[in-house]
Amino acid sequence: MSFVLRRLLASIPVIIGVTIVAFLLIHLVPGDPAQAMLFGSNASPEQIDELRNQLGLTQPLWQQYFDFFGQLLHGDLGTSYVTHNSVAYELVSRTPSTLALTGTAMLVAVVIGVPLGLVAGLRPNSVVDNIARFVSFIGVAIPYFFLALLLVLVFAFHLNWLPAIDNGTSSGLILPAISLGWGYAAILTRLIRGRVIDEYRSDYVRSARGRGCSELRVLLAHVFRNSSIPAVTMIGLQFGNILTGAAVTEVIFGRAGVGSFLATSITSKNIPVVQGAIVLIGLSYILINLVVDLVVGAIDPRTQLATASA
């Protein structure tokens, strides 16, 4: 319990830091926020000044930050410059689509990477191992946006099996998820293969066999359990990259999600949306890593002791 509590406390300064980064963005981006909001509305300089007062931009920086943070705690992320809707509403309404893509991509990575890595590690230098090594080497190197185009070319244009542009159905999710998940499947395969080979050489495997454990039990209860720890850690570390990769994949496949929304908001300098997205992505990354730590702690209690002594 104290392990969970300690991890929670450790993430508080990071969460505050992410909100500071998001807050500072409005002052880092060239141009006046009040002018940007009234852009194209023929506002007089007096009206712009008035809005600047309303937004609190004339107050000292620390006061502005506390107001920003207070609004955040109430779930208020400001209003979009473009649609004048609440940013929180716009982000939340697009979240399910992004989560579906991220989740399916992770599923693709695990479903391909874990069995492939296990089989390859069980029989090093076999045919399966060589295929796995080749696939993972290509998989790590091929950029997901290029893989996406190749998949569209083959499966949408030539074979006509799947839609090239996402149409909201589940079949539209297949190509984006594979192109995003493939690279992580490749990393997982390499990681698990290496670990399985290492674990099979270790003493506890020999003693488990000596005790009369079946090969299946040795594989699942001992080797797989210990090999899965770095895999779980890796998934947590890569979550942020998968999330931003989902953003680019959304743009390619024309999916309406947080990622494509963030991309258009950056180019149109719609700062409140960018701020909201930073907070949202930062928080979910911290949350995922918290969960990963707890899962790893549950699989391998030694890590709990390690963080306690650090």
Binding site: P30, F157, M234, I281
Partner: protein, 308 residues
């Protein structure tokens, strides 16, 4: 010694000479490939005789014949665009990693040696940046400073700095308690002198390992940014923006996007191979395998400790 043992020893000796021979071949090949990439960066004209900007009447020609990789809508030679497109990609990713390395080592040294207060503040900032994905940091920076190759270098530099800083700080903290560093301090060596003379040389291996594995990721991030239209602006050649430009006519002219895409893939492959090669050169036992994952970013507490 029994006959069996002699046979076993002979087999082991043969295997080690074979692997040593294999390692030499790999090294020679690796050096040649890296030299080719260096030439691509400094003098692309050696490989392509037509300009990547030359229009011709032969528009949208399929690969083969006088245009090896085909031509685009304006009749520009794709092969030449792929050759010349290497420069912005390589400059951005190598420049970005170099910048991240310099900044990361400096910040890591400060984080490892400075007084408690400064150290705390610096490393908390690093923690915050580690909590944001690399691509997001890069996007935010480019949103504030504008698009272009220089912006991508700066964005990559800032985005990869926290990873370097975190690893360097961890090793500096470990090194500080070692006897000769303690002795240097006792004999009156100043903080800066200790850092440069005693700590820095011991960090070289780790930093080289991180640089060699970061380059492949930097190529991916750099091309992602230019794919999104934030790097080199058309009509100038660049793998990422050419790939994006060709994507709209994917169904009719597949070669527009495919060749820049293959170029990116091959570059990342070579970067990964070179990374593995450097790893086996300086660390044959593979002890530092985790450093590679550390360099990719992540929160400190979720990382397993290195095997001693």
């Amino acid at each position: 010694m029994s006959t069996l043992a002699i046979a076993r020893a002979a087999r082991a000796a043969r295997r080690s000479t074979r692997s040593r021979y294999g390692r030499t071949v790999t090294s020679v090949l690796m050096v040649i490939i890296l030299l080719v990439f260096l030439l691509l960066l400094v003098h692309p004209g050696l490989f392509a005789h037509t300009s990547p900007l030359d229009n011709s009447d032969d528009s949208l020609a399929a690969p083969g014949g006088s245009h090896l990789f085909g031509t685009d809508q304006l009749g520009r030679d794709i092969y030449s665009r792929v050759i010349y497109g290497a420069r912005p990609v390589l400059a951005a990713s190598l420049g970005g990693v170099l910048l991240a390395m310099l900044a990361g080592v400096a910040i890591g040294l400060i984080g490892g040696t400075a007084p408690r207060l400064i150290r705390g503040v610096v490393m908390r900032i690093v923690d915050v940046l580690l909590a944001l994905p690399v691509l997001l940091i890069a996007l935010i920076l480019i949103a504030t400073i504008g698009a272009g190759v220089k912006s991508i270098i700066l964005a990559l530099g800032v985005a990869y700095t926290p990873g370097f800083a975190r690893v360097v700080e961890a090793s500096v903290r470990k090194l500080r308690s070692i006897e000769y560093v303690q002795a240097a301090k006792m004999f009156g060596s100043s903080g800066l002198r200790t850092a440069v003379r005693h700590l820095l040389p011991n960090l070289v291996t780790e930093v080289v390992v991180m640089v060699s594995s970061a380059v492949g990721w930097a190529v991916l991030t750099a091309t992602t940014l230019s794919f999104l239209g934030l790097g080199v602006q058309l009509p100038n050649p660049d793998w990422g923006s050419d790939l994006a430009a060709g994507a709209t006519s994917l169904s009719t002219a597949w070669w527009l996007s495919t060749f820049p895409g293959i170029a990116i893939t091959v570059t990342i492959l070579v970067a990964n191979f070179a990374g593995d090669w450097v790893m086996t050169l300086i660390d044959p036992s593979g002890r530092r395998a985790w450093t590679r994952f550390r360099a990719l970013g992540g929160l400190r507490t979720s990382l397993p400790e290195e095997k001693a």
